[in-house]
């Protein structure tokens, strides 16, 4: 059903000099501490990472709860910030597609789609035979997902020992890791334009609309990159 060797290769992407375990750990420890602050109990904090597993959305949820936003508002705010997962899935899953693989694998494993796992999969899929790529992806997904849940629990339990300077230090690890991964991915003109354009437009449009900034910045910069980057996107 699942090719164990390939699955383990995906799982092993947690190790080594390109390991995502440290940035994942840092940001989910910080999240666990924040959720405790927001009044969550341990089970609720773990459940949040188990069922949502998308850090920016979980941050939005916690902060909205702290200011007393309604459930409908939380839903819309989270949907807007996590909508990026849609183009991310569409730009990854066709690469993993194979006729011989059952559809449920794709429908279930899309839950593992987050920035970390996506960047690892984009970085490593070429080394895997097309037929087994979905199992490689499931390995990456299980590894990063379980790390996130475990670290949320550790963050919750250690919240009392983390002072503000440590939490601020932990919070920068994730964007630094993502920026490094994206710079590593800038191998052609269209991706380079997309990354640089998005980085500039994101904060800029945020000044005009906080909620729609990501969507518009992504669409505009992405389309410019597509039109002017030539036919070399991967």
């Amino acid at each position: 059903m699942i090719n164990h060797k390939i699955f383990l290769r995906g799982l092993k992407s947690l190790k080594g000099s390109r390991s995502p375990a440290i940035p994942l750990g840092a940001c989910f420890i910080a999240l666990g501490a924040l959720l405790k602050d927001a009044g969550f109990n341990l089970q609720q904090s773990a459940a949040s990472s188990l069922f949502t597993y998308a850090l920016p959305g979980q941050l939005v949820m916690a902060e909205s709860l702290l200011v007393g936003a309604s459930i409908v508002n939380i839903f819309i705010a989270v949907w807007l910030v996590n909508f990026r997962l849609y183009p991310m899935t569409v730009s990854l899953f066709p690469l993993l597609d194979h006729k011989s693989q059952p559809k449920w694998k794709y429908y279930l494993s899309c839950h593992f789609l987050a920035v970390t796992s996506w960047l690892i999969a984009k970085d490593g899929y070429k080394k895997i035979d097309k037929k087994n790529r979905i199992d490689f992806w499931i390995g990456i997904g299980i590894g990063t997902w379980s790390t996130a849940i475990l670290m949320t629990i550790i963050g919750y339990l250690s919240a009392d020992y983390l002072n503000k300077d440590i939490l601020i230090g932990l919070a920068i690890v994730n964007p630094v890791y993502f920026f490094c991964m994206m710079i590593g991915a800038m191998k052609n003109l269209s991706i380079s334009i997309a990354v640089i354009g998005g980085t500039i437009l994101g904060p800029f449009i945020y000044l005009i609309s906080t909620e729609w900034a990501l969507l518009f910045a992504g669409l505009i910069a992405g389309t410019i990159a597509f039109l002017f980057g030539g036919k070399n996107g991967e």
Binding site: E63, I74, Y86, A185, A194
Partner: protein, 108 residues
């Protein structure tokens, strides 16, 4: 402080709002060929949306990161990216360094 019931509802709402985008992505993927222009466009949009999120996280951060100075955040980011490039793309060193640097600069 939110009540337990509100928290559970918020977790459900957040999870559903997140899963919709992932699942729609999986469904759309079935109709998108790797060689098509649509796929290339989605690829560009995915990278730029991600970059937009990261740019926002550094310039207008949410949560505790907002309590650090903008100049310090950008400085730490640039140093760590340089370390990444000069360490043959090692990711462990710059990520650990970033936490140490920002904690240090923020405490002085």
């Amino acid at each position: 402080m939110a009540s337990s019931q509100i928290i559970i509802l918020a977790i459900v709402a957040t999870s559903v709002a997140t899963f919709i985008s992932r699942f729609m992505g999986a469904l759309t993927s079935e109709k998108v060929s790797v060689k098509s222009k649509v796929f290339q466009w989605f690829n560009c949009v995915a990278y730029s949306t991600l970059a937009a999120l990261l740019g926002r996280m550094i310039i207008f951060p949410a949560g505790v990161l907002a309590d650090s100075a903008l100049f310090v955040r950008v400085f730490v980011l640039v140093i760590c990216i340089l370390v990444f490039i000069f360490s043959k793309k090692n990711l462990v060193i710059p990520t650990i360094l970033s936490a140490i640097l920002l904690s240090f600069f923020n405490s002085i």
